[in-house]
Amino acid sequence: MRKLFLSTIALLLLLLISCGKEKTSNEAADKAETKTEQPAETSDPMKDKGIGPVTSITLPDEIDQAMVTKGSEIFAQKCSACHKPDKRFVGPAPKGILERRTPEWIMNMILNPEEMVQKNEAAKALLAEYLSPMANQNLTEEEARAVLEYFRTLN
């Protein structure tokens, strides 16, 4: 009988434990919390390469005219709704941009605008000034490079 008594107590304990256990599913919440590392900021815009797929680019001295033509066509189709070459519109004018920004920053702003306006200080400041977020027009890297070449002609 004693054995039975003990096993009843054991059973009771087991029951308490198993029913008390409240499994919560926090995995997803944890996942959402993971942070991406903040890249080091630089106060000199001509050293700021921005955040995105383009880390380093060397511009040849000679401007590639074929690329400029292609770039200006892409600009007309995908960008001109918000940017005029030489005056402020919905967004800033690209005229003279290579004197203000690095080529990498320009291409990253075209290719990765969502992250740029969230994390890059210069891009954040632009969003604060213009309020319309830069649209991601899903250009390929090659297309963005052509647009950059076109920008080189806007002085």
Binding site: M1, L15, A28, A32, A135, N136
Partner: protein, 651 residues
């Protein structure tokens, strides 16, 4: 000691009630016990494992849910206009709802089925039938949009539809009502022997184009549901029939006289050969074929004038009738293709026919008479077995791929799990209440994904907060991975959920389109760049070629419009990113919102009736400056000489 023991037992019982119970409310038990909640919980930001496409019944649409969460993602407009998607409201989609009866803004959608390759789901398209004005629609699962609708002539109450053959060679549409073919003015009471039931085979090309290839003109029964053979029975199609009495009034009594009706077995490969060899007869018809093009973002409607009909008695060996008890509804083929399950609505048992035995009976000519020249097989010769006393009012069966079948019972309100081959009942679970169809993802294919079954109920009564006399429609989700089924979840659905098709999300989600490429936009009124924006007058017709991007329209100031003009706004969304649609609304227009996807062009018409300066605006919250996304149109008197002009920011 004995007392202590008794005392402890009482405590034990009490503790278990308190800690695990549900306040003794027996109605709530089941779904809340165990870890049901955890099994259906999809954490914020996570995706469901399955898509469920649930028919919208009298709403005419198809709703997309996630399983196991039961969350509603989208209502795909199919046979009814839909303000949310501008379906049937914008100029581009109006032709999709064209029929031989004119523009029909509303139908009754019933049985979705997902396209297959080798009898397995391929996740490319969903087909669904319009029941009232007979049509079959195809929904493209890259865009989740209806891209093709074909009307079915000679058909009425397009109910035994829209089921696909093993390689999506055909989507099949069977008539429910028999009617005079061709339609003519005749006394209703002369129905018997004169009306016909058309079973339509719509071919589907590898690219998905539908074409009504032939119709088999069957005796004047009612054709209720159907399914294709698969595996060994591939090449055959099976249709349940009722009203083999051919009654034309008070069917609830007069169509329930015969002890057995039939499952019609159609050897469609044989008929296909026959028509490919020039067989069949072309008869005049009039039916719409509507196609939506993702490059022009527009639909066209073509009226077809001819259909090929086949008299089954002229194709020997192509059609047989299998006696099946009492007005069968569901007609379901197991994954092996051997068993054809007939759910006799009024029968005491569930009937399983054997495909092998059917072939044997055909070969040995074991016939038991004929109906209008179609041989009737002997019931005992084709019967594989029967599930005895399974429940009341069997309707529909699907399969888990593990040798089990699941059948709904409308009258006794339950799902019953039983074993193929031994016909024994393994489990039964109540539904709340009066279940119609059920769905296991892939459960009517060669390869079911036997994890869940969704039961679609006809009555919900007290299951949800009341919403007046009309209460929500509902579905219930059961876990079927164990020996016994477990009710996990109730979830409300768009009414009425007649039938559903489910598919693993992985087969679909990777192919889902994110936006339309601007350079592929071939809409005749699209503008590739805001530079091309213009306003063109042609008599009293004015076409505005407009662009939109966060957060302005080009142009946003338009003058020179006159009272009496018919103004077409052709609006192109110049965004090229995922999930950035814009909308447009014009005061006094019959549309309130055209939701335009990135890279897409849509059109609405505005007929200004009063002089003034009238605004338009973006209707979809698109950015922080959404409230700034607006414009004006100046409307001058009919005889005004003001020229058309347009601008954005003065340019």
């Amino acid at each position: 000691m004995k007392t202590i023991f008794k005392f402890l037992t009482v405590i034990l019982a009490t503790v278990s009630i308190i800690s695990c119970g549900n306040n003794g409310d027996s109605k709530k038990q089941g779904a809340l016990t165990g870890n049901a909640a955890e099994k259906v919980y999809v954490a914020p930001g996570e995706h469901d494992e399955f898509y469920a496409f649930v028919s919208g019944g009298f709403s005419g649409q198809l709703a997309v849910y996630g399983l196991p969460s039961g969350r509603l993602f989208k209502v795909i407009p199919v046979f009814s206009v839909d303000a949310e998607k501008a379906w049937g409201f914008n100029e581009e989609t109006k032709p999709m709802l064209n029929t031989s009866h004119g523009f029909i803004p509303w139908d009754d959608s019933h049985h979705p089925d997902i396209s297959q390759t080798n009898g397995e789901l391929n996740g490319r398209w969903v087909f669904i039938n319009g029941n009232n004005t007979p049509r079959i629609a195809k929904i493209d699962l890259t865009t989740f949009e209806t891209t093709e609708i074909i009307e079915i002539p000679n058909s009425a109450g397009n109910h035994s539809s829209s089921f696909v053959t093993e390689n999506t060679e055909y989507v099949v549409a069977g008539t429910r009502f028999s009617v005079p073919v061709p339609q003519r003015d005749m006394p209703i009471k002369e129905y018997k022997g004169n009306f016909k039931g058309a079973l339509s085979f719509i071919s589907v090309s590898p690219e998905g184009a539908m074409d009504l290839k032939f119709q088999v003109l069957m005796p004047g029964f009612n054709y209720d549901l159907s399914h294709p053979g698969r595996g060994k029975s591939h090449g055959w199609f099976f249709f349940t029939t009722y009203n083999t009495e051919e009654a034309n009034s008070l069917l609830e009594v007069n169509a329930s006289q015969n002890d057995k009706d039939f499952i019609a077995a159609i050897n469609w490969k044989k008929i296909e050969e026959y028509v490919n060899g020039g067989g069949g007869k072309k008869m005049p018809a009039n039916y719409a074929h509507n196609v939506y093009n993702d490059e022009t973002h527009s639909a066209t409607s073509t009226m077809k004038k001819e259909v090929l009909v086949v008299d089954p008695t002229e194709v020997p060996g192509a059609v047989y009738l299998l006696p099946t008890p009492k007005s069968p509804h569901g007609c379901d083929v197991d994954p092996s293709g051997e068993y054809i399950i007939g759910s006799g609505k009024l029968a005491a048992e569930l009937t399983a026919h054997s495909f092998t035995k059917m072939l044997d009976a055909i070969e040995n000519k074991k016939f038991d008479g004929e109906a209008y020249g179609i041989p009737i097989l002997n019931y005992e010769d084709v019967l594989a077995g029967a599930v005895k006393q399974p429940g009341l009012g069997p309707l529909h069966t699907e399969f888990d791929g593990q040798g089990n079948a699941y059948t709904t019972f409308f009258i006794s309100s339950e799902v019953v799990k039983w074993k193929l081959g031994t016909w024994e009942v393994i489990d039964r679970k109540p539904t709340y209440y009066s279940v119609g169809h059920l769905m296991i993802p892939g459960g009517n294919s060669r390869k079911p994904f036997g994890k869940y079954v969704v039961a679609m109920n006809k009555i919900t009564k007290d299951r949800y907060l009341p919403t007046g006399p009309e209460v929500t429609q509902s579905a219930q989700l059961y876990d079927i991975t164990g020996e016994k089924m477990e009710l996990l979840l109730d979830f409300p659905t768009v009414g009425e959920p007649h039938y559903a098709a489910g598919c693993p999300a992985d087969l679909i989600k990777e192919n889902s389109k994110k936006f339309f490429k601007l350079e592929e936009n071939k809409h005749p009124y699209a503008i590739q760049t805001p530079e091309e924006a213009k306003v063109v007058r042609n008599g009293n017709e004015v076409h505005i070629y407009m662009g939109m991007i966060r957060s302005h329209f080009t142009p946003d100031n338009i003058e020179g419009i006159k009272v009496g003009d018919k103004v077409y706004f052709h609006v192109t969304n110049h965004e090229q990113d995922y999930d950035v649609p814009h909308g447009i609304s014009m005061i006094g227009a019959n549309t309130s919102e055209l939701l335009i996807m990135p890279g897409q062009t849509e059109t609405f018409v505005w007929e200004p009736k009063e002089v003034g300066v009238w605004p338009f605006y973006c209707t979809d919250f698109c950015s922080a400056l959404h409230q700034e996304m607006q414009g004006y149109v100046r409307v001058s008197p009919r005889d005004s000489s003001i020229e058309l002009s347009w601008s954005l920011d003065g340019e």
